[in-house]
Symmetry: C2
Subunit: 460 residues, 2 copies
């Protein structure tokens, strides 16, 4: 039975301070003197203290250091200097991204206690923009899994129903933002690792065009597929965050034109199974956004096999390269499931990888042509709502693996390097559903502007 | 016994018209009316008719079409239009490069009778510059071998001693220029395929920085390692040819500064065996060019293992990708030796290829630093003189394979993508020896200018 009523839309936990508070609202309060950055950090600290035992979002927290940073930023503000929209805003950083003042573990026993010498470039940019890092959030071990329930620090839990996964690999970042511990968080996305947990936790999640955000200091999973991105409560917050994260390369922009956007709907098959309630929820959101009937992007499906084939070879060869020596020398330190995936990745042949790179280039040309006639592709972000922790198969007539189902609608866009966003579309049986929009390479600003101007939060 | 006397310096065949005639001399003769482009084509045709049965340099010749082109170019000149230094100059094109008006076979049974729809971009550029294509020259089958004695059209023979190989894979181009059939020819170089036959046949051979010449229409061996280049009688001729081939990207330049160039000598070991007579001949030429003692580039040797490892993985994975379906479906059409090499290339793993790309990037950084203190690396182009046709091992205490020996001193620079030139250094036992100079990435013009200003033809 599908329940789409608003009464279903309640978190399973009492949310923290930042739930429902946008960055603009926080900035206004700081500008008017009603709140200081130190207040915001204390609110974050209180929410983390109360909620983290339930959700396991953060694997390291340093409120003391955050308060120190907040004091300096408050002093700057008192002197009339405001760095920008992130000035004094608490943020969380996924634990596969280097921080000079906090451990960075990749969710892996191999890196317990590891202290990077320097901030990742994207963390440095956030700090320069005035963001305050309050802690590090749980990542699926080495970011190599979309469930967020396998890491040396255990599993994150979904604030909408704590028996369910957040999705991953940016699991803790999703739990932290969805539960109101922090207003916004950094994630990384190689096959859906920002968008999947954002969708399953009812957030906005944005992955930029490949290469738009500096990769330096981000622990690699598959370097040619992955990018840092953002998990946020609103498109506006995501825009402010991406502006800082990209060093200004992705600036907030106005939506182009006044006509309805050209939105083409991509069918789930053959990318993933089809849960009709989830698909209907996402499609209805797409129709509201388009302001009219959708085109059918049926020509996308004929590339599905080539996309999956290229993705598989690229992702596995690149992932094994990162871990070859660890798999050889320290296999017992891995989570068994991650180890099994890595070992299965070793067998990709060199020529198959080279062929996959060629195929990717060909497909990128195909999609560049496709985007001449449409503004965005639309489809569910994830074909199902959040399954239970450690669940590994989806029940029903079209039985499928959880991993493949979680990633099937997001990873085609990684192989193409396209910008993609997930927007909260509604709920099915009380669990969030995401609408995914995908745009042409390099049109990050237009995609964000379109979402900002036309998307309405559901159930309000 | 080593004979370095000038009396050893004679071709084994009566040379064709273009032996010892530079492009500038031919242009002057055409400008003064003493020769026409049609005369040059007829001279090429006569030389080919007489010499090709001995040397097997050309696998396809079309003097009729060349005369047609020559008539048009002569008419242009009569109207005062001269396109540039290649206006009316007969050239030969290696048979792995597409020509719209001649077959392009790759030296392989799979492509016998194959007619490309269009000229390769580099051929189109040569024609736009006024060059006249008189024919296609033998390539080692699919350019996958440095000996030039395995192709569906047989073996090319060395004009200095016809029992010996030209070297390859640009075998026919080397035989055609060295014997005076044409003044200059196009080759391709993936591990030494321009430089090796140039050195073994006593020519100037130049391979540009990777990517400087358009690859479109060149049948790939290993796309990230290979570049089109030139085989010529002089550096000046090579400069004119490269200017056209690169669409002006590599223009002739004046040598920088008046001081002696900073030349660092690279020891053969651990890259290849050391034939003391060959090494002494090349080193003496380097000292003449430097105008003084050489530095020792001993720090280069510590990268030898990493260079060879990266090269092996990259070359094999890329080569197999090109041929995977042919190896599977039409194995019997391959030369057995080429098929064996291809089959051995299949096993490179994807992660090893990815690792090799990373290693290459690291090594490129290392060498960029190294070239801050020196202008060129110098070493023999090939560690030995031309072995016999079908010879596959080098005799002597340091016994080694012919293929590894031919390529050992040239292929490190392909993996780094560096520009390199071979210059005739002298003779050992009557067979030519090449001096190889290698420069920093992007310094093609400076390398050519240095060679043009400081190199003296040996034995004159």
């Amino acid at each position: 039975m599908t329940d789409l009523s608003v009464s279903a839309c309640a978190l399973a936990v009492e949310p923290g301070f930042f739930r429902g508070r946008g960055i603009d609202e926080l900035q206004q309060a700081m500008a008017e003197g009603g709140l200081t950055a130190q207040d915001l950090v204390r609110h974050a600290g209180a929410a983390i203290e109360r909620l983290n035992p339930l959700l396991n979002a953060f694997v390291h927290v340093d409120i003391g250091a955050a308060l120190e940073a907040a004091r300096e930023l408050d002093a700057e503000r008192a002197q009339g200097k405001v760095r920008g929209p992130l000035h004094g805003i608490p943020v969380a950083i996924k634990d596969n991204v280097d921080t000079s003042d906090m451990p960075t573990t990749m969710g892996a026993a191999h890196f317990l206690g590891h202290r990077p010498a320097a901030d990742a470039r994207c963390v440095a940019l956030l700090r320069e923009a005035g963001a305050i890092v309050v802690g590090k959030t749980l990542t699926h071990e080495f970011a190599y899994g979309p469930t967020g329930d396998r890491s040396v620090q255990g599993a994150s839990r979904n604030p909408w129903r704590t028996s369910q996964i957040t999705g991953g690999s940016s699991a803790g970042s999703a739990a932290a933002v969805a539960s109101g511990m922090v207003p916004v968080a950094l994630g990384t996305d190689t096959g859906g690792s920002v968008r999947v947990p954002s969708a399953l936790c009812g957030l906005v999640g944005f992955k930029p065009t490949h290469g738009r955000v500096a990769a330096e200091g981000v622990f690699p999973l598959s370097t040619t597929l992955e990018d840092a991105g953002v998990l946020a409560n609103s498109v506006q917050d995501a825009q402010w965050f991406m502006q800082a994260l990209s060093g200004g390369a992705i600036a907030p922009a106005a939506a182009a034109g006044t006509d309805g956007p050209r939105v083409a709907w991509v069918p789930n098959a053959p990318f993933a199974i089809d849960d009709s309630a989830v698909t209907a929820c996402a499609r209805a959101a797409a129709e509201r956004l388009a302001g009219g009937p959708l085109r059918e992007a049926s020509d996308v499906t004929r590339h599905a096999r080539a996309l999956q084939s290229a993705l598989g070879a690229i992702q596995r060869a690149e992932a094994y390269e990162v871990h070859a020596e660890r798999v050889e020398n320290e296999p017992a330190k891995f989570d068994p499931e991650v180890l099994e995936r890595l070992r299965a990745s070793r067998g990709v042949l060199g020529w198959e990888y080279v062929r996959a790179l060629k195929e990717r280039a060909r497909l990128q040309d195909e999609f560049a042509r496709l985007f001449r006639d449409i503004d965005v592709l639309a489809l569910p972000t994830v074909a199902i709502t959040a399954p239970a922790l450690q669940q590994r198969s989806v029940a029903g007539p079209g039985s499928a693996g959880v991993r493949e189902t979680l990633l099937g609608l997001t990873n085609p866009w990684n192989v193409l390097g396209l910008p993609a966003i997930t927007l909260p579309a509604g709920w099915v049986n009380g669990m969030p559903v995401g609408l995914q929009l995908v745009a042409a390479a390099g049109s990050d600003e237009a995609l964000l502007a379109l979402a900002a101007s036309r998307w309405q939060a559901p159930g309000n």
